[in-house]
């Protein structure tokens, strides 16, 4: 646990997350989201979840965001022109978010063991080995079901993009 790195990467994640929401240009938003995911992956490293760090970078920052950028360029989206600003909707949205954050802070204060520091791990962690062993023994059935789910999603995408919509 290195606090400086934690706060650095937390700031990176949250800062770029705000940039996703604030940017008008969809491409800039997507690239900010990539940086946000990279910061999050770094937080996974600080929590000794090395396998999830690699998966996060490969799947999210790599595959998913490439797909997003690909679609943005396919649809040829320009930066949004200024529409008439719906003030009531913006104020409402911000109020709901503020209420959510207030509730969140209250709940986090009430977590019974939240103020305790993380326990120290003395042994070496063979992270990928541990994850793989559990994945192929205890979680074998869900693993195969997820494989079927991915197949169904693939077929669904092909059908959606091939059919002539009238």
């Amino acid at each position: 646990m290195v606090p400086i790195f934690f706060w650095l990467f937390a700031a990176l994640t949250l800062g770029f997350a705000v940039a996703v929401v604030v940017n008008r240009n969809p491409v800039a938003s997507a690239l900010s989201l990539v940086m946000s995911f990279v910061g999050l992956a770094a937080l996974f490293v600080l929590l000794n979840a090395y396998f999830l760090f690699v998966i996060q970078i490969l799947v999210y920052a790599g595959a998913v965001m490439v797909l997003f950028l690909f679609i943005i360029m396919l649809l040829d989206l320009k930066a949004e022109e200024r529409r008439k600003f719906n003030t009531a909707a913006v104020i409402g949205g911000l109020a709901v978010t503020a209420a959510f954050v207030a509730e969140l802070v209250a709940v986090i204060d009430a977590v019974p063991f939240g103020a305790k520091t993380f326990p120290i791990i003395r042994d070496n962690i063979y992270d990928v080995q541990n994850v793989g062993r559990l994945l192929f023994s205890g979680y074998n059935l869900p693993f195969q079901v997820v494989g079927v789910l991915l197949l169904v999603a693939t077929i669904g995408v092909v059908v959606l993009s091939k059919r002539e919509l009238k």
């Binding site: 995911f37 996060q56 797909l67 649809l75 949004e80 802070v105 993009s161």
Partner: protein, 106 residues
């Protein structure tokens, strides 16, 4: 000063709140979809933090990390299908602006 569980929960909660605000405030479907992904990732951070916090035989509790693994897989499938739907919608209406898609609006 060492990090506490609350630090991670706070970062994760703020990330979720930012994604939530994005879903409420933005009117571009693709941006809304990105913010949904951000919210899923905030949940993942909470799961990993709890997995590291509750040690099992001196190791992180890997059941939590399994859930994160499945969330990432399902989210990838969700993104593929969701973006295909958005492309189909765009071919039909030539827009990604949610206020132009108001067929179901009361």
């Amino acid at each position: 000063m060492d990090l506490t569980l609350n630090d991670y929960l706070l970062v994760s909660g703020l990330l979720f709140a930012i994604g939530f605000a994005g879903v409420l405030l933005r009117r571009n479907i693709i941006i809304i979809f990105m913010c949904l992904e951000m919210m899923l990732n905030a949940a993942n951070l909470t799961l990993v933090a709890f997995s590291r916090f509750h040690l099992q035989n001196g190791l992180p509790n890997y059941n939590g990390q399994m859930l994160v693994f499945f969330i990432i897989t399902v989210a990838a499938a969700e993104v593929a299908v969701g973006l295909a739907v958005i492309v189909a919608l765009y071919r039909l209406r030539q827009t990604t602006h949610v206020e132009d898609i108001s067929t179901l609006k009361f």
